[in-house]
């Protein structure tokens, strides 16, 4: 009997080839397992009904949560990490992970980026035409690392992680933090829509947006879909994807646009073609997201609408 090829077959096979003996996944084949790679692999395997594989990733994550509630980057780097958001996202639907998710969410809620000293903020307020980077320094969302500034991706991921958690498991301050995240993203939107890594204008020049950061920011802002900056960014994302050949950007773009109810058939065909052709090695995160994007159902982002 001839089996029909599923678009996800190659991708899932590529993902499984990266599984480490400890049940986790590294960012590339043969690399030590990390929280982010394992989390995304777990989400993809669960969507593919690979219960055993998904359970192993859950075990991996639950075994490695720190006493603070955060997750580390990996065994080799045991400090609390921005990757905590990915772990929460991966575990938020897992009944046996309820306590871990609640604990992790509380840690994430307390992560707040650094901002300028008071005098600088005053300067920003009164001489906005003299600044070198255009932004509102009063907004403090999420950083990549403790003691650094707010950036788009960690903010978007934290909002999505907190938005995925059963509201009964997180303190009421979650709404304040999600509002803060929305404020940051809307403050940093690029001219014409979309998001760079976190700035939109430096030294008199507009920065250009990236599809992957734009897709994550839009997913985090779904509640604000009526905001003209969100609508403009949806258009910008589709324009960017027209000539952007990469698994990560296409996969995140598809998952985002689909969550907004936009037809993604042509993008999905291109992602499938990319996987059929000779490409460059990509991260496990990109493999896992490609698997999710090619499925055409069970988009995990559909159920997540960070609500302030």
């Amino acid at each position: 009997m001839t089996q029909t090829r599923r678009p996800t077959d190659e991708v899932v096979a590529a993902l499984l080839a990266r599984r480490n003996e400890d049940g986790g996944f590294g960012p590339y084949r043969g690399r030590p397992s990390t929280t982010e790679s394992t989390a995304w692999a777990g989400v993809a395997l669960a969507a593919d009904s690979d219960t055993e594989g998904a359970e192993a990733t859950i075990d991996w994550l639950l075994d490695r949560q720190l006493a603070s509630g955060a997750w580390p980057h990996s065994l080799e780097a045991p400090e609390p990490s921005w990757m905590t958001s990915a772990a929460i996202l991966a575990l938020s639907d897992v009944p046996r992970a309820g306590d871990a998710v609640a604990h992790g969410s509380r840690w994430l809620l307390h992560q707040r980026a650094r901002t300028f000293p008071l005098l600088t903020r005053i300067f920003y307020r009164f001489w906005p035409d003299r600044v070198q980077v255009r932004l509102d320094p009063e907004i403090r969302a999420w950083p990549w690392t403790d003691g650094a500034f707010s950036w788009c991706e960690p903010t978007s991921m934290a909002m999505l992680a907190l938005g995925s958690v059963d509201p009964r498991l997180v303190p009421g301050t979650v709404q304040f933090r999600i509002r803060e995240g929305e404020g940051l993203l809307l403050d940093r939107v690029c001219t014409g829509g979309g998001w760079n890594y976190g700035n939109s204008w430096v030294l008199g020049e507009d920065l250009w947006p990236y599809p992957d950061t734009t897709a994550l920011a839009l997913l985090a802002l779904r509640r604000r879909r009526e905001d003209p900056r969100v609508a403009e960014s949806l258009d910008a994302l589709q324009t960017m994807l027209e000539d952007h050949e990469s698994s990560l950007s296409l996969a995140l773009g598809i998952l985002c646009l689909e969550a907004f109810g936009i037809d993604v058939a042509s993008y999905r065909e291109r992602l499938d073609a990319l996987w059929q052709g000779e490409s460059f090695e990509v991260t496990t995160r990109a493999v896992a997201l490609s698997s999710l994007a090619l499925r055409g159902s069970d988009n995990p982002f559909r159920r997540i609408i960070p609500d302030a």
Binding site: G26, P27, Y28, R31, P32, T34, E36, H73, E76, A77, S81, W82, R114, T115, F116, P117, L119, T120, F123, Y124, R130, V131, Q132, V133, L135, P137, P143, W144, T145, G147, A148, F149, W151, E153, P154, N196, Y197, G198, N199, V202, L203, G204, E205, W208, Y210, P211, D212, H244, E245, S246, S247, L248, S249, S279, F280, E281, V282, T283, A286
Partner: protein, 338 residues
């Protein structure tokens, strides 16, 4: 008024400008570990003319030989600069230079060559490999790429104390190299003044630990971080080849304008190489904070201590535009070494 260094630290670190008073403490003593004090009596640098259409494998082989670098049997890590992509820009090390360097190293008997980079702005390495053309250069030469943003790491004590960081996670691929070759683009830099072989080492700091951009380094001070990272890499054997065939002037390292120079710069002393790169841009290296500081312990800036080989700098130097905060670095620039 703030000095330029503290101004830049706040502007870049928090991604915004500040007019706060300067807060940099002047060092009371050396801010580097004794093991990082490797400044030689004299350094050699070669400048060779080149175009992207020339046989770069041959030009680079000549450059390496001119510098008496023996690569036989060495495991070499090449660190180009591909931080971002702009179809109309000249941001990155040209793929022909990467291709030519790989060819030259193999002809000269290197045991292995890998190309490694941890892009500073974008997480989408696949996109950068494809669009910059470097991925195809690697495919043509059957060369492995290591994404330094996601390499296995070791927490490494810094051999400098310019920043308060103390240690950083650094990638095994770099720390395990027999020879680390920095392969930067010749560019001006809006926060640091110039970006050459030393600033290129920001790309070894893994994004998966420090983010995109690597903002911890900005808060710690860009110049200071360059110094601490390069002080720490004195544990390795190093070399540099600067792609100055077409450089970037003005608002570098991303949004500046292309400026043809037609030169490759070779050398084992990163400070001397960067000083020469500055002179090719008619920028005074002694007025670039981190190069001036690096000349105290890492290498030579003075033309009198640099043996110039190959082409005369004066024959190739171009008057690169810089943004206002670095205008004074242009005023006293003198082109020597011919």
């Amino acid at each position: 008024m703030p000095d330029r260094r503290s101004f830049v630290r706040l502007a870049a670190g928090a991604s915004a400008a500040s007019l706060l008073p300067a807060c940099r403490d002047e060092p009371s003593g050396p801010r580097w570990h004794t093991s990082a004090a490797v400044k030689p009596e004299r350094s050699a640098v070669a400048v060779l003319p080149a175009t992207y259409e020339s046989d770069l494998g041959e030009v680079i082989r000549r450059g390496i030989e001119l510098m008496d670098l023996d690569v036989r049997g060495l495991r070499v890590v090449l660190k180009p600069n591909f931080v971002e992509f702009d179809p109309d820009g000249v941001i990155n090390t040209h793929p022909a230079v990467v291709h030519g360097t790989i060819e030259a190293l193999r002809r000269l008997g290197a045991d292995s060559v890998v190309v490694a980079e941890g892009a500073g702005h974008r997480r989408d390495t696949e996109y950068l490999l494809r669009e910059t053309g470097i991925g195809f250069a690697l495919r043509d030469t059957r060369t492995r790429f290591i994404d330094l943003n996601h390499d296995a790491v070791r927490r490494t004590a810094l051999r400098g104390q310019y920043t308060p960081l103390g240690s950083l996670y650094l990638p095994d691929t770099v720390l395990g190299a027999d020879l680390l070759i920095s392969l930067p683009k010749l560019k001006t830099h809006h926060w640091a003044g110039v970006t050459l072989s030393m600033k290129n080492m920001f790309g070894i700091v893994p994004g998966s630990h420090y983010g995109w951009p690597k903002n911890v380094l900005h808060w710690a001070g860009i110049s200071e971080s360059i110094l601490d990272i390069n002080a720490t890499l004195t544990s390795l054997r190093r070399f540099a080849i600067v792609d100055g065939i077409v450089g970037m002037e003005g608002n570098g390292p991303i949004q500046g304008e292309a400026r043809p120079v037609g030169a490759l710069v070779f050398g084992a002393d990163p400070v001397a190489v960067d000083a020469t790169g500055c002179r090719l841009m008619r920028i005074d290296p002694a007025k670039i904070d981190y190069i001036a500081d690096a000349s105290r312990f890492l290498g030579n800036v003075d033309v009198g201590r640099i043996d110039q080989r190959g082409e005369a700098i004066a024959d190739l130097a171009q008057d690169f535009a810089v943004i206002d905060p670095f205008a004074s670095a242009k005023q006293a620039a003198e082109v020597t070494g011919s």
